[in-house]
Subunit: 427 residues, 2 copies
């Protein structure tokens, strides 16, 4: 009974559907794990065990209809919940109680899932950290901005949690905490009820411990067909090894892990070739800053004009930066992003997926910074699916991720490829 | 003093900036007009005269910095306000008080504008009507969903009001009430704090009595350069007369008004040619329904699962329709929309603007329906700027609109062209 909290969502849902497991027992096991570990990890912004158990008992009274039935889900605290406070990681919203659930939360409930609680976000999903620690080493950051979701999933407190990504806020914390992070294609999970930061980039995704779990929840919410992972052993994927223009920023361990992965993938019958993206792609990190700053300055107008003293120095700097971005610069950045998206579609005619770093290295020491997002931001701008896999180990024994990206809209094939890579590199 | 409420925003702001007019006097004139007319028009969902006057007096204590300084703005009640209830046109949200202003509202305040009050929206900006009547004939619909904004602006209650468009919710009510309606390019006005219906289509825009007023507020919010309308007399625009695939649905008066406009535009030195869009464009009305229904089903999950009895039959039908749209159908619709956007970019190499109907005819009788949106929805899917101009008169003396659309992102040139057309057809 004690290791129920370690079940994947896929396995738990199968047992629930087969009548072999009660949602209440699963949720109780997660709560028990949280009770033991939360003091050290601090993953949760709000948790009401009684409310979670009540939802689980309600699920247990119903006939399972979906693959999410009875499964507990963590919700990043920039996503509205009607029965739990939602503080967006900001003191401006202390105790704030939204009137309605965000679409993705209401969908989880409608599909029979249990909203376990709210996970810690950095301030408005930007850089100023929350209280969460890396469960692998409490002296290190879990990454951000989906800090609590990554830590909670890594620490077996919940099998699934929503994250959001505007720069690298799913990929980086997932890599730092050693879990799977999946940022779907832009506009796959409905964003109604998300606290907006950057309309053109904000993407809801998930943190899980397995690739099929990531597929499961996103497919249920988006109405996509269920991907069968049975075909994975037969795949012979065409993989582009993409160092990206930021390769020199990755540390030695990350570079080496990826370079050594290539022959292992080839041994498992992948076709691997180096892919070099052209010089405009090198500008995407800057483009991401231009677009997001311009939009943040506007999206947070109420907060910056009414509560400037309750905004961190870091975020205020970014807002001020946004105030200086001209419309012409913003439009130029959007045009460059569009061009690169179209060119990446062309690149993907020859590849099923690209392999790239997830972060510059292991989770850095200290809790004052959530780490460098450089390896996430271009893929966010490019709007395609990105998955980080916890397949490498760094010099101090902490996880390093491998990032698999795919063509826009081809999430299923990207997830299959990611699972293939995971198996090839885990053998 | 009595006709201050008839001032355009541009003229009012100029007088305020020159120290010749106080915002308080302007707002008082608007309130006085509302006091006299609201019983018949019913444009306002919430109005607090004291709060409006207080804001105006605060503006009068500050040095004007922007072209919006001291100008009153109506806000469609699907856009959040921190100091006024926001009910989204639904009894589910009776008395709902958001915690913060939507981005566009906070920007208006930050730019020195006055939020006059909340204008009536149909239910969640869909088809089920609110209480508003057409100020030109109270037995007729003002159109929807931006019903209150169109009626208030037409009736001189406020010079500017925000509307939103997912199908034809700015263009249609503006045409029916005889005002200018401007749906900017998708993602020009920041959407944070808008109640989402269809993320891929929802567009915030404005209703005004003049084209320069429409340009003024959108430019101030979006950080765009101020368009100078001085160049209008010198333009020789290349105009495509686009009957659209739905031409047969326009009534005789609408068809005749547009056909008779062509030689008048030519006499004013425009180059006019007929433009026929290819057969895929004929599917855009259906594409708009597919995309919006799929997204509405998800965006309103909380409402449909918790308060089904408080949702109108009309909207519930649309939600049910959305539940039956498969992901594959949705993706096919999005792909078709993308192809048509790219092809329309090509069309616009030869034209500065297209001229098309704004609605099928005059505002229909009765208040049970908000009228047929067929002439708005393709342009919403196409994401470019669209402006309706109150330049024609129908058989019963009610206004008919002419719709000017332009290339995505080229809002300034489209507005210039629209103003040129307005003058040519008003002579």
């Amino acid at each position: 009974m004690d290791n129920l909290c370690q079940l994947s969502a896929t396995e738990a849902a199968a047992r629930i559907a087969a009548g072999k497991l009660k949602s209440e027992a699963l949720v109780a096991a997660c709560l028990e794990r949280i009770g033991r570990r939360e003091n050290d990890v601090q993953a949760w912004a709000h948790l009401d065990p009684e409310l979670a158990l009540k939802q689980a008992r309600e699920c247990d009274r119903q006939q399972p209809r979906t693959r999410l039935h009875g499964v507990p889900v963590g919700v990043k605290d920039v996503i509205d919940t009607a029965d739990m406070p939602t503080e967006y990681g900001s003191p401006i919203y202390r105790g704030h109680q939204p009137k309605c659930d965000a679409a993705c939360v209401a969908q989880v409930r409608d599909l029979g899932g249990v909203v376990l609680g709210k996970t810690v976000s950095t301030e408005f999903a930007t850089r100023h950290p929350g209280k969460t620690r890396n469960p692998r080493d409490p002296a290190r950051t879990p990454g951000g901005s989906s800090s609590g979701s990554a830590a909670a999933v890594a620490d077996f407190m919940v099998p699934l949690a929503f994250g959001t990504q505007t720069t690298s806020s799913i990929i980086r914390p997932a890599a730092y905490c050693g879990v799977v992070g999946y940022k779907p294609t832009f506009n796959v999970i409905n964003r109604a009820g998300l606290k907006f930061l950057s309309d053109s980039l904000d993407t809801i995704g998930v943190l899980t411990r397995t690739v099929p779990d990531a597929a499961l929840i996103v497919e249920e919410l988006s109405g996509s067909r269920a991907t069968s992972f049975d075909a994975v052993p037969d795949l012979k994927p065409r993989i582009g090894f993409c160092r990206t223009p930021y390769w020199h920023q990755a540390d030695h361990a990350t570079q080496e892990a990826l370079e050594r992965a290539v022959p292992r993938l080839e041994q498992s019958r992948a076709k691997v070739k180096e892919v070099e993206l052209d010089s405009e792609f090198a500008r995407l990190v800057e483009v991401q800053v231009t677009i997001s700053s311009f939009e943040i300055y506007r999206a947070l107008t109420y907060e910056r004009t009414h509560f400037p003293d309750l905004i961190s120095e870091n975020l205020m700097g970014r807002i001020l930066g946004g105030s200086r971005v001209t419309r012409a610069q913003y439009e130029e950045a959007q045009a460059l992003a569009s061009r690169c998206r179209a060119r990446l579609d062309d690149v993907f005619r020859d590849y099923d997926a690209l392999l790239a770093p997830s972060a510059i290295g292991e989770a850095p020491k200290g809790l004052a910074s959530t780490g460098d997002p450089v390896f996430g931001s271009s893929w966010t701008v490019l709007h395609g699916p990105a998955v980080t896999l916890p397949v490498f180990t760094g010099p101090t024994g902490l996880p390093l991720g491998a990032q698999i990206t795919g063509p826009r809209g081809n999430d299923a094939s990207t997830l299959l490829c990611a699972e293939w890579v995971r198996r090839a590199l885990s053998e």
